[in-house]
Symmetry: C2
Subunit: 228 residues, 2 copies
């Protein structure tokens, strides 16, 4: 479902300096896989996730999503893919500062044209699942760091995406709350969906069936764990 | 050096709802202690850190810093304490979006009246110590999540504060980079300074000599580890 070939991404810093965030990444991810991406800080993981999630374009290389070349998709198809097929938990959450948790979680449903009463119900449900049923009317600055992270997770899960991209989803969570989130991801996976998560923690990566390690913008190793 | 007695903090949510973030916290921290604060997401850790760091005021209770009642300090004394004595690594980094890493790290030195050439030198040095010597002119949105976290750490350390308050300083870092940061904290501690860090990770907490566990706005346990 995701096919990357020789993906490169570089940034010009004005003047002679160019940062090569991805230096030629090729990988294929199939439906219902559960993949963990690990690697040092600055190695290119978020850059890779943003390209997979159709939020950024590579400097060169090919990205096929469900067999279609993403760089040839029109804006409507791209918007449909981002809204209907992909759920994204950002490393820095990216919540709307002036909206409460409920409205933040409703956002993908509003774009998806879901009726007001149904989406309120779905958003309440998603927030309860991450343990924030009593925080629905708090704005982001009225929430703890881990609570904001959980609102971002609820927003990503609320329309049951076929592909969940989660960039360090448990970084601000204690291990018990983190385990509860991993159970939600397991449920989504068990329903046939695809999970790709970036993590720094081996015990989180162990939930995945395949671990891809990135170093300096390239894939250093790509291992499938047979017994899961 | 830090003496909290029956500290309470609550927020009014408009209407009848009141959130009690801290429900009566009493604790004393002495010079050169190395304390880890742990607890579930939403239990009150960041609220406690903000009060200790003189960035927030309690709803009730007493806070004495170096024997002086903080609520009776004038603005000048408070500003001096915050700038000269305390270094704070925020859970959400709080970097200036339009300034590069170097300028962000220089900020405490500018407030402290350090000369331009000396503070550039100190800021370069602090950034090299966290492995970002080649990212000094990148702005926050040109940095990875873990790199932003490290800029926040460099900014907190650049002044060699007598008290370092670090709120989940390794949450976005791989374990190797996290270890490098812990070495920097060890060095600061060995020079006689006081370290208070919030963490979700037991292996980070193990660097401390004392672990305080918070739950629902109160201290659940407070243990000194004798053998470190
Ligand atoms: N401005 C606010 N208004 C209302 N409630 C708030 C506000 N700030 C924090 N809270 C609430 O106070 C409680 C404690 O928040 P705090 O940020 O101290 O938690 P924490 O222990 O740091 O959590 P985490 O591990 O998730 O960072 C949370 O339940 C949060 O929802
Ligand atoms: N807009 C940009 N301009 C210049 N350099 C950038 C930009 N965005 C990212 N970079 C650089 O690209 C590299 C990869 O960044 P990326 O965010 O993908 O890392 P990461 O693996 O997610 O790191 P972390 O674990 O710290 O989150 C980093 O060295 C970063 O400094
Ligand atoms: Mg990242
Ligand atoms: Mg916190």
């Amino acid at each position: 479902v995701i096919n990357l070939q020789q993906i490169k991404k570089s940034y010009d810093m004005g003047g002679a300096e160019q940062v090569q965030a991805l230096r030629g990444v090729s990988l294929a991810i199939h439906k219902n896989e559960y993949v963990a991406i690990m690697g040092p800080s600055g190695s290119g993981k978020s850059t890779l996730m943003n390209i997979i999630g159709c939020l950024d374009t590579p400097s060169s290389g090919l990205y096929e999503f469900n067999g279609v070349n993403v760089s040839e998709m029109n804006d409507n198809s791209l918007a449909r893919v981002r809204n209907k097929e992909i759920g994204f938990v950002f490393q820095t959450f990216n919540l709307l500062a002036r909206s409460d948790s409920l409205h933040n979680v409703e956002l993908p449903l509003i774009y998806g044209g879901v009726s007001s009463s149904l989406r309120k119900k779905m958003a309440h449900n998603a927030l309860s699942q991450v343990g924030l049923g009593d925080r629905v009317h708090h704005k982001p600055n009225e929430l703890s760091g881990g609570q904001r992270q959980r609102v971002a997770i609820a927003r990503a899960l609320v329309n049951r995406p076929s592909i969940l991209l989660a960039d360090e989803p448990t970084g601000n969570l204690d291990s018990i709350t983190g385990d509860e989130i991993m159970i939600l991801f397991e449920e989504l996976h068990a329903q046939g969906n695809t999970i790709i998560l970036v993590t720094h923690e081996e015990y989180i990566a162990e939930h995945a069936h395949r671990i891809i390690r990135i170093r300096d913008g390239v894939i250093a190793s790509d291992e499938t764990v047979a017994n899961r």
